[in-house]
């Protein structure tokens, strides 16, 4: 039983061997209404992340990025497929896996009447951290993200959206996750805060060897941070490569400018064959 509470032990023995994250033929459908075909939010997606990698997921609104992240952290159950984190099966070794991951979502979900310190103290206790050290770690991380100790004592509702988002990032970092899932972490931040957070993400990888999954609509951010990028379209992974690889691919194969934007447009665009089918379907007269 104690082994499940200190999973780090298992990891170090297998260092370099196990992938940080394996997603194997994941499928997730949502029933949206009776008599309607379910929405294929994630359609046979597979990926493998090595330790210390920053992996970007791009895709248009509704392409399944957040759903994939939720599947990886166990907030949704898979309809088919398998997820493994540092060699631990998500379903069978739930508590071990949960200790290793954390997530930041696009909205900063907090008890808004409570202060950052109170909210983060709750998070720290859930992850079994001692109150004293957790408090100083919280203040340190918040300061690093530009939130003063004075601010940390007042209700979160008094903070701007960007500041709340930084507190959300601090919450995730507090538990020192080995796998960090970032779902549009910089959406809504000002340019300087964005750079702060991006620098922090890089630092996490370099200094703590964290593996990071990042979804974003900011292509420059993806270009700057990600070692590899995959693009989702209607729940399917349509392409996966390094940022440079993607740019070259669209330039060579589709005769497009060698930019991530061109890659995004090409792979999520209406011009792909699959989308034609869908258009025909919805245009059908009844």
């Amino acid at each position: 039983m104690t082994a499940t509470l200190s999973p780090q032990l298992n990891d170090t023995t297998a260092i370099g061997r196990v992938a940080a994250l394996v997603v194997d033929h994941a499928v997730k459908r949502f029933n949206v209404a009776d008599k309607r075909r379910p929405v294929m939010a994630i359609d046979d997606v597979s990926m493998r992340l090595e330790r210390g990698e920053i992996y970007g997921i791009l895709g248009s609104n509704g392409s399944g990025k957040s759903t994939l992240i939720r599947l990886i952290c166990g907030l949704l159950t898979l309809d088919a497929g398998r997820v493994e984190i540092f060699g631990h099966d998500l379903v069978r070794e739930e508590l071990t896996v949960k200790r290793l991951i954390n997530r930041v979502s696009v909205d900063a979900a907090f008890f808004k009447k409570l202060s950052p310190l109170e909210n983060l103290s709750f998070a720290a206790r859930l992850y079994g951290l001692e109150a004293g050290p957790a408090r100083s770690a919280t203040l340190e991380i918040l300061a690093r993200l530009g939130i003063s100790a004075r601010r940390a004592d007042r209700p979160i509702e008094q903070m701007s959206r960007g500041m709340q988002q930084k507190v959300a990032i601090a919450r995730a970092l507090l538990t020192s996750p080995s796998l960090l899932l970032l779902d549009e972490p910089t959406t809504g931040l000002d340019p300087r805060s964005k750079l702060d957070v991006q620098a922090f993400i890089e630092e996490l990888r370099v200094e703590h060897g964290a593996t990071i999954v990042l979804t974003t609509h900011d292509l420059a951010e993806a270009d700057r941070l990600c070692d590899r990028i995959s693009i989702l379209n209607d729940g399917r992974k349509v392409v996966e490569s390094t940022p440079i690889g993607l740019k070259l691919l669209v330039a060579e194969r589709y005769d497009q400018p060698a930019t991530l934007e061109a890659a995004f447009m090409t792979y999520t665009g209406r011009s792909l064959d699959d989308d034609h089918e869908e258009t025909e379907e919805t245009d059908e007269p009844n």
Binding site: L76, V106, L114, G128
Partner: protein, 267 residues
């Protein structure tokens, strides 16, 4: 042992957080206390008007106990509802904790809060009705029954917490339905003997019936707890079944929510 102490420590997370919430909203807590006192007082005054000290005490016990139950249930349901509403439930459910730890932590706070709340009302009512004769009362019996019954209420509370888990907008309100059914069949303000037989069947499976029986016997007749075995064993049995049942049912609901994507609020 390490596992157990780890669980205890983790469930303290919920106690501490709920305490912070109470502290932040203390003005409202005070207002709520006024509401509860006024409610219990109004009911008790019916007994005072009848000029029957026994009825007065009996109604007072019913009102105070009913308040305790409402407070405990509303805390359990509301903390889940607020977490759902704010979206923090996703983070709580991502944390490496057992669901039982979460539920026990939340319900433990609800019980402690309910006891403090109830004690305040009790003091106010005793001061308000100087004619009350508590010379024969056996407070030990009353306290023991409330604590014993709390195990069952924790179990029922966990089951009630499923509603706000799945139905964020109205779920917490729907726990009132459950409460009022308990109110109807448990003999809070009248003897269950006046109920139609089919309702009396329900009375016998409501833990509140036995708690009220025990508390009244203790405070009105001064019966020591040792003579109330008939009320104790049903509470023991119900507590021992309802808590595991509550954890199990909540787990089922959680799996359902995760399959259908019901935990999500934003993004």
């Amino acid at each position: 042992m390490t596992v157990l102490s780890h669980e205890m420590k983790t469930s303290f997370a919920f106690i501490e957080r709920n305490f912070y919430l109470t502290r932040r909203y203390w003005g409202w807590e005070l207002a709520f206390l006024v509401y509860s006192v006024a409610g219990a007082l109004s009911i008790s005054l019916i007994g005072a008007q009848a000029g029957d000290p026994r009825l007065l005490l009996s109604l007072m016990i019913g009102a105070i106990f009913w308040n305790y139950l409402s407070v405990v249930f509303s805390w359990i349901a509301e903390t889940i509802a607020v977490e759902r509403w704010e979206g923090t439930l996703e983070y709580t459910m991502m944390a490496p904790i057992r669901r039982s730890t979460q539920l026990l932590g939340s319900t433990a706070y609800a019980i402690v809060y309910g006891l403090v709340h109830t004690a305040v009302i009790l003091v106010v009512l005793i001061l308000f009705f100087p004619q009350l004769d508590l010379a024969r009362a056996n407070p030990l019996t009353a306290v023991a029954f409330v604590l014993l019954g709390s195990f069952s209420f924790v179990g029922i509370g966990m089951i009630a917490a499923i509603l706000p888990l799945l139905y964020v907008e109205r779920g917490a309100q729907m726990t009132f339905v459950l409460q009022s059914c308990l109110l109807l069949v448990s003999g809070v303000y009248y003897s269950i003997s006046i109920l139609p037989p089919w309702m009396q069947v329900l009375s016998h499976i409501s833990p509140a019936t036995y708690v009220l029986d025990g508390v009244r016997a203790g405070l009105i007749e001064g019966v020591p707890i040792t003579e109330l075995g008939g009320d104790i064993w049903p509470l023991l049995v119900m507590g021992a079944t309802l808590i595991p049942l509550g954890v199990w049912a909540f787990g089922r609901a959680e799996r359902y929510a995760k399959r259908t994507g019901k935990l999500k609020r934003v993004g």
